[in-house]
């Protein structure tokens, strides 16, 4: 006789092996500031921030069906919060980071109240208009944007050379935190609700998912973390202007990263950020031609391969490195002796 055992698991053999590799890679990355040049650290910081913004946009678009073209609003709010806290109030940059989260989260509340009245594609344009509104408010403010010139973050001078390492570690911690956050969120009850919304909003609603409330809560959380990202980005960028921090280019980058890598997967934005970063490093010198290439790539991927690179990999191999679904596993052991 045979005995059959059932188990409900998320992990797969591939994901177990990946966990080991990933831990080693992360440990390696954490040591970067001890041996690398400042130039390499800046590049890696840029890459990590791309991973973060891609991951955050994917959380909205890929999992919750929220198509925001205005997340630059929170990059700008976070950046300016850091500027005000560190330079104008003379507080520590750590206070700036915390307040960037708080202020962005607070501003996200009335923003969501207004935006979630718009449906479908008009929601997307609405988020863009709101980001433009915040940009213009900052631009017309004499303390934030005196005499219309970019403001340097003077507090950075106090950190000296160590600012490269601090900024790297911050973006590293942010990237790891966001990826783990998304992973555990997706494995939770809320994650199940979000995936249901992604697959079919109406069916999710019928099955008892509070679609609007879940979407709004997620929008607020992502706004707060995007604000933190803006503050960290200011530490890297050194100076801030409304036109760069509230730029629609942020949305263009988020879209590129997510579409190249693969919408609705955790691995996708990481792959997408790496590919986008390499493309940008090599092609950005082409100027407007580089942007034309970006536009063409965006259109071709959306029409020909809407699941991106990771979607293609998964369709071919079935590999999931960070599995969030629960599967039923059956193991049959041939018995007889007992």
């Amino acid at each position: 006789m045979t005995t059959t055992q059932y188990a409900i698991r998320s992990a797969t053999p591939a994901s177990r092996r990946f966990t080991v590799v990933a831990l080693l890679a992360l440990a390696g990355l954490a040591t970067v500031p001890m041996w690398s040049s400042n130039g390499l650290m800046v590049s890696l910081t840029e890459l990590l921030i791309l991973v973060v913004i891609g991951q955050l946009w994917n959380l909205l678009a890929g999992y919750a069906g929220i198509y925001s073209f205005g997340q630059q609003a929170y990059i700008g709010i976070g950046g300016y919060t850091m500027l005000v806290v560190a330079d104008q109030l003379d507080l520590d940059i750590w206070v700036g980071l915390v307040l960037a989260i708080v202020v962005s989260g607070l501003i996200a509340i009335p923003s969501a109240w207004l935006l979630f009245r718009l449906r479908g594609g008009y929601f997307a344009v609405g988020t863009w208009v709101l980001a433009e509104t915040y940009r213009l408010i900052v631009k017309n403010n004499e303390t934030l944007y005196p005499s219309g010139t970019p403001q340097p973050l003077r507090s950075l001078a106090g950190l000296g050379e160590s600012r490269f390492a601090i900024t790297f570690w911050l973006s590293f911690a942010l990237a790891v935190g966001v990826i783990l956050g998304v992973y555990f969120l997706m494995r939770s009850r809320t994650g199940l609700a979000l995936r249901a919304i992604r697959d079919n909003e109406m069916a999710a609603s019928t099955a008892g998912v509070a679609v609007r409330r879940t979407q709004i809560m997620l929008y607020l959380a992502v706004g707060a973390v995007t604000g933190l990202t803006g503050a960290v980005f200011l530490l890297k960028a050194v100076s801030i202007s409304p036109d760069s921090f509230f730029s629609i280019d942020w949305t263009a980058q988020m879209l590129m990263i997510v579409m190249i890598g693969g919408l609705g997967t955790i691995e996708g934005p990481v792959v997408g950020a790496a590919v986008f970063f390499l493309l940008r490093e090599n092609l950005a010198d082409l100027g407007s031609l580089w942007f034309i290439i970006l536009g063409v790539v965006l259109i071709v991927i959306m029409i020909r391969a809407p699941r991106g690179i990771w979607g293609l990999v998964r369709a071919r191999t079935g590999v999931e490195l960070l599995p969030v679904r629960k599967r039923l596993e059956m193991t049959t052991t041939p018995g007889g002796q007992s």
């Binding site: 678009a61 069906g65 198509y67 073209f69 109240w113 207004l114 009245r117 718009l118 479908g120 594609g121 008009y122 997307a124 344009v125 609405g126 863009w128 208009v129 709101l130 433009e132 509104t133 213009l136 408010i137 631009k139 017309n140 629609i248 263009a252 879209l255 579409m259 919408l263 407007s288 031609l289 942007f291 034309i292 970006l294 536009g295 063409v296 965006l298 259109i299 959306m302 029409i303 809407p306």
Partner: protein, 286 residues
């Protein structure tokens, strides 16, 4: 101040002209065309090139620009945007955003970042006193043109076979398809008609101000604000929405030139807060 308001009202006519194409495309296909502003700017540059070739007045070339834009619109819809329909909201947003990036940078490559304008001759500066206010002939002409174009669209939608098909697609896509409507062709026709109106708007845009390749998104936003302020699905509401937006911007600029755009956004947000269906909103229909 009275002058600012009068000019704002007339500016509203231009915004209604700008918004008509956006409304039509959304009504028929439920697609928000994020390249709307850039395609309008493209029309300005098409006019610029035609003037360079023929030496004619931009107003005389307006029908030709409209026709060229209409053909581009039909081709763009059949060649690209049709492939994004029926798979949710994201694909048309991403693809039209991609088109927007391509147009902006393509124009930059071809025409540089220098601002350029279309010269329509003495009418640009002529003005007339109406009671207490002085208004320009050209803004007045623009407003009249907007009314004529909206009336023509109204007639097209209500009294022609094509308009009936558009309304059928808008109301109930599956049933319209069952009745034997060719959606691929008709979606392209609706984009073609919308782009003809954008061609008209683009010529006006080039005459009334200098254009640069990167200003398209601003006009997407003004068109969108006019639509939402006026109320979704109402062509004449869009005119009212455009007027409200135009007045807000001009009154804002009256106090401080930097407040023009911001005042428009704030009025838009106030409408969204207190009257989310807009001034003349009906449930989404044409």
């Amino acid at each position: 101040m009275a002058d600012a308001i009068a000019q704002g009202v007339l500016l509203g006519g231009f915004y209604a002209l700008l918004a008509a194409g956006l409304t039509l495309v959304f009504g028929v296909m439920k697609v928000v065309n994020l390249a709307h502003g850039d395609l309008t700017v493209l029309a300005s540059y098409v006019a610029l090139v035609l003037i360079g070739i023929t030496g004619l007045n931009p107003l005389a070339l307006m029908p030709v620009v409209a026709l060229i834009m209409g053909l581009i619109g039909y081709a763009l819809q059949r060649g690209v945007i049709n492939f994004t329909l029926g798979q949710g909201l994201l694909p048309p947003l991403v693809v039209t955003f991609g088109i927007s990036i391509i147009i902006q940078n393509g124009l930059l490559e071809l025409f540089t970042a220098d601002s350029q304008g279309l010269d329509a001759g003495p009418i640009e500066l002529a003005s007339i006193d109406i009671g207490p206010v002085t208004v320009g002939w050209f803004p007045l002409l623009t407003f009249a043109l907007a009314v004529v174009v909206l009336a023509a669209l109204h007639l097209l939608l209500r009294h022609t076979g094509l308009g009936r098909a558009f309304r059928a697609l808008s109301d109930d896509l599956p049933t319209a398809q069952l009745m034997g409507i060719s959606t691929r062709h008709l979606f392209a026709m609706s984009m073609g008609v919308a782009m003809m109106v954008m061609g008209v708007a683009g010529v006006i845009l080039g005459i009334r101000a200098q254009v640069v390749p990167s200003i398209g998104p601003s006009f997407l936003i003004y068109a969108f604000e006019s639509v939402i302020i006026g109320g979704l699905g109402s062509l004449w509401g869009t005119l009212a929405g455009g007027v409200v937006l135009g007045v807000a911007q001009n009154v804002g600029a009256f106090f401080d030139p930097g407040w023009s755009e911001l005042a428009g956004h704030l009025v838009f947000l106030a409408i969204l807060a207190f009257r989310p269906r807009g001034l003349f909103g009906r449930p989404e229909a044409l």
